[in-house]
Symmetry: C2
Subunit: 185 residues, 2 copies
Amino acid sequence: MPQKPRADARSNRERVVVAARETFAVAGLEAPMREVARRAGVGVATLYRHFPTRAELVTTVLAERVDACGVQMRHALDDPDPWRALSGTILEFADRQIHDRALNEALLGSGEMSAAFGDERREHARALGVLVDRARAAGVIRDGVDVDDVRAGLLAIASLRRLPPTAAARVIGRVAGLVLAGIRA
Amino acid sequence: MPQKPRADARSNRERVVVAARETFAVAGLEAPMREVARRAGVGVATLYRHFPTRAELVTTVLAERVDACGVQMRHALDDPDPWRALSGTILEFADRQIHDRALNEALLGSGEMSAAFGDERREHARALGVLVDRARAAGVIRDGVDVDDVRAGLLAIASLRRLPPTAAARVIGRVAGLVLAGIRA
DNA sequence: CCGGAAACGGAGCAGCTGTTCCGCTGTGGG
DNA sequence: CCCACAGCGGAACAGCTGCTCCGTTTCCGG
């Protein structure tokens, strides 16, 4: 059975997670471990005791972010207006990409991320498909537009996060508008 | 007056440039100098003698790539069909971004790149403005679409280069289509 | 064909990274 | 209250990077 850890250990673990969340959001998933430790006010060894490898810390932090996306998606599925549900999802996605660099890199990262959050990704894709189908049934999107077009548009928005910060927000807004114009009937 | 360099020195310099062009196109502008040297079949010291700093080698290689873009742009300006000129420019841009990672990173890179090729960038922007104006005058693009929308679309396409290679080409094609759909009347 | 200078190669330096080791600290059960 | 030991901090290691130093090789003008 699980031993009860010492109180200071548990508190330190929590401080590491908080520091990692903040650091990754601003500096990206490749932020140095030393930086996370410094921000948490602990030594690197403490960090590594709770998360034996960098990947485990990253996964822990991302899990809660990915979860937030799921919540938003379920909310959109409840929206009775098909166009508002779809366009709102796109715009909120853009907003999230701007404000959380960790989430952005998780989406754009190659291979191993996709594996780690495969289920969530699939669920998200399926929900997006429902939103697109509803919008098409309601006749608010162009003929020929399918879910892959929308997904491509989302990826385009996400990718823009990597340009210089000031330009990013402005250009993302414009591209989001362009994507909406591109799919709307 | 300029001393005539030794024959082997000139030949080695050329081999370095060729190796750098190939290496950067495939592995990006951050490819290790050791790798460029290895590919050129010279020692790292030789490489550094001809290009005292990494940035100078990068700039040299990029100059010719950027030049190629200018050629394409001038060609588009000669096209009498406004929509074909604009859409062709967008599609060729997408193609170039797919095939040359160096050019892609130059466009997306922060700050110092913009400074190095400021003139070329401005000329390119101006030419694109002309293409957009002509397309608008011909009534082939939507009301309200301006050159910044098109530039945002191009940036979106360029940014996509960074996703996993197999996905990139497919998604870029889709987004290019989406952008064209977004601006067309 | 020779010798001095130009050019060369690769070991080495400094500085970054993720991760581990180990002597010390301070918590909390008895 | 006390001391075993879970937990800690930070120096240290290994491996990457851009870049430099220097003994050795190669070119080429006389």
